[in-house]
């Protein structure tokens, strides 16, 4: 049963379970596990000299300081799934076309499928789970659910992140501004007319009393 409360709690739990992915220093070639990063590096030098060793990336993810050991060619979307267990950034096109993988990096909507994990070092990142866990944004989630701004729901987190980023910058958007802000998101199910409706309603609720 996914109630508003249980879902918010689930998002909160996901956000808070990403604290220590450094626990496991695992070789991505042979799956050997090491006690620390230096041992892992040495293992690469001796056992897999032709492979590029992973690097440590530190970032602020949904309000938490995190560090991951990640292969330099990994996309951030892949790191979110496999290093942090966060699957809200979906991949539909894997080519920077559909917006399903959108996250907010340093205040900008960014496509995590075309962003390398190493590019995110030192940055502040917010994913859909972080948004969903924050009570401030509950009206946005509520409005999306009330207006069926989703069918299969696969693209929805990407739209949600883009919508939140719009409201961060523009608490009182017009319908056309909503449409333009979401123009980079593809919904195969064709839910397009629903989004502006939901965002406009949520904006009123989130910023009522002018507390933008």
């Amino acid at each position: 049963m996914y109630t508003p409360e249980s879902t918010q709690a689930a998002a909160y739990q996901l956000v808070n379970s990403v604290t220590s992915p450094m626990d496991q220093f695992k070789c991505s070639v042979c799956s050997s596990v090491f006690a620390n990063y230096d041992s892992l590096r040495r293992h690469y030098d001796t056992e897999h000299p032709h492979d590029v060793a992973p690097v440590v990336v530190a970032l602020h993810l949904n309000g938490k300081h995190c560090e991951i050991v990640v292969n330099p060619h990994w996309t951030f979307q892949r790191a979110l799934q496999y290093k942090f267990g966060l699957t809200g950034a979906k991949h539909m096109c894997d080519k920077g076309v559909c917006g399903s993988c959108t996250v907010i990096i340093d205040g900008r909507s960014v496509l995590s499928c075309t962003t390398l994990a190493v590019e995110v070092a030192g940055k502040t990142v917010q994913t859909v789970e972080g948004i969903a866990a924050d009570p401030k944004w509950k009206p946005l989630i509520d409005a999306y659910c009330k207006w069926d701004a989703m069918q299969c729901g696969y693209c929805t987190p990407g739209f949600m992140v883009a919508a939140k980023n719009l409201l961060d910058k523009n608490p009182d958007p017009t319908e056309q501004e909503c449409r333009e802000a979401l123009a980079g998101n593809i919904c195969i199910c064709g839910t397009y007319p629903r989004h502006a409706q939901a965002i406009l309603e949520a904006a009123k609720e989130i910023y009522k009393g002018g507390n933008a």
Partner: protein, 781 residues
Amino acid sequence: MADLVGINGQRENFKVVGKHNLPGKVSYALASGVAKFGVDYALPGMLHAKFLRSPYANARVLSVDASKAKALPGVVDIVMWDDPDMIALKPPGPFGPTRPWLDNYADQEGIEVAVIVVAEDEDICEEALRLLDVEWEVYPHVVDILKGKEIDAPLARPTDPLFHGKDMFARLVDEPKRGNVSRAITVQGDVDKAMEEAEHVLEYKLVLPTFASHVPNPPASVAQWFDDPYTGPNNLHIEGAVQRRDSVGRMYGVPDHKTFQYGIFQGGKYCDWGMRRSQEITPLLARRTGRPVRCSEKREEAFDFLMNQRYIYMKIGFDKDGLISAIDDYSIADGGIDGNASFGTANDQGYGPYYTMKCLNIRQNMDIVDSNRGKMRLSGQHCPFNWDSGTMAIYLVAEKLGKDPIDIAKLNLHGPDSQEDMRPVRSFDECLDEGRKLMNWSWHASGTKKLPDGRYHGAAFRYQICPRHAFSGYNCKLEFRNGQIVLPTQGPVTGIFAVECNAMVVAEELGVGYDDVVVEFNFRERFTPVGGGSDGSTASAWAMKECANILKKQILEATIEGANNPPPPSFFGPPPPANPFKGFKVEDLDIVDKMIVAKDDPSKSLPLAMATMDHLVATYSGRPPAAIWSLGMGKMLDTMNTAYCEVAVDPETGEVEVLRFGVVADPGLVLRPTSLESQIDQVMFFSQGCQLLEEYVYDERTGVRLNNNMIDYKKPGMLDVAHVDRKFVETRDGNAAYGASGVSHSMANTHMVVIAIHNAIGVWVDPPATPDKILKALGKA
């Protein structure tokens, strides 16, 4: 007609059914990114698998030297097509390929062939695939079905002499295949004679482009085997094969109770129910390696067809009023690769636009051409695919006679019971009346109306019958547990808000609110609400209505029993409220607004939650009466829908703007309006996309599909789609829940926009009607 058989089918007052803005039961999980699809699952210690994919459109793997790949660190297993494990693997269900599950033959570029690599991560899989030394035998291919149809064309599938599409609605001609071509013919009446006698004869051609509507979430599964203290050894846990968990289990000889799956989110299916190899292989690989294995597909690996290419050559005979008396349809359709569905080919002959007309002389003759283009899974949104050949017939007759196509459609549509039935169809007439108003319908001949900005104005209209899911029975279960109504279901969730429709009907029948019906997803349950989109769950909702009333009776009986034989007082907690129904009969009571009340004296009441502490379970297995469309295949009519569009065509740039779509549909009764509206939008956007933007492009020389990615294959976005005005007529002339029928995907169309373009500029442009084609048609390029 109407829901005369089901309990409360004639209900007049609705408190829940028909209400807007009731959030979906899983919408919060979807909106917040908590919902997990198959591709999202990762299990500790899992391996990854990748298939070798053919770089050739038609080729055989003669040999593979995998020694270098095997030596690559991180490679755990390499499985060849001739491995005994692979040979033993059998596809589940009736719609899969009839060749071995994986063999050394590839009939499409990019298809899985011959080898699977299992490794520590996907990068290593890909590196290992590159290190395979593969010897190929390459054959000529067919990606142009007009060429493939010729008797001397190369064979698209040399190993496969049969057409594999299953024919549900029409028969293939029982004759040997000629080259790549199988034939299907359906004849009614004497077409040649009727054509000869017709006052007017028109010939025209339609081209249906191949159209993709890929499932948004790339197919993927992860599987592992485990022992369990309760169910014993060799249990299978698989995620990502949601709807077909049990059939995947059967592939591996695992009984249902030992096959586990927790994920319910399946993504948009659009009637693409075909399982992919990535969703079936992981149990085998997990068994071989002793570790969980994940296999996922990239977008370009899962860019399948929703609609096959087809050329339709039409000839129609009609009289001076526009009454059509002869229809001769010759089609050349893409039979696709091995295992292609026969929707879009032979199946269309059994159920199509022509049988909705009074015309008694109909010939459908089809060449189904095997090709190396790709595969269409089971069924698509455009069903049947030749529907708009009928739409175009009506338009052309109207053009020829200087009449309004709506009048021509009305003249030609037969009555409710048969093609000889001359009575009007109420649903159709009501849709048309509303449609004329909605669109301010004012017909003009082609090329005669210019907008103030200089662009040409065009309009088009089409109709369809409103089908609903017709072939499944439903195993419903409801519980009254701790004072709550619980609806257990195995799902899956595919975006059609099916379980929500059912929950609304349950709430209606049990006198509670929508939020009071708790939906519990559990893969062990048997109830699946799936039954077509756009309120197509009216069939499952009919069965659930029966179940709800069985539960209601149980609740009322238990309440009366509690009054007649009250339990001894408890030492714990406050005393329960007095049960005033001693000596009552079930028929004396009702449930209203979560209270059990005496019908004659509403002051006698008891909160439903306090009715009984018994755990009550009601089940109902069954289905509504057969859907009229499935009985008549167009020759019987109940609920109908109509669609309209207006376009503006710029003669200078060739650009087409869809000014608006209009939809007036009669789903019988609207169960869940919010999602019904949204799905109407969806089919219009599908239709806009396939007529203005979308098309597969092949390299004729190599047979390679050039644009199976979302950059080069353009789907409509937020700023591309047109406004959709919608209106619902509710005749209650369907025969599922409360006289509902549903709209399903019948409104998706291939030529309504194209017809509007013709109405604007007076020349035909095949879809997708891109600006270059428009300019060419206008003689400007």
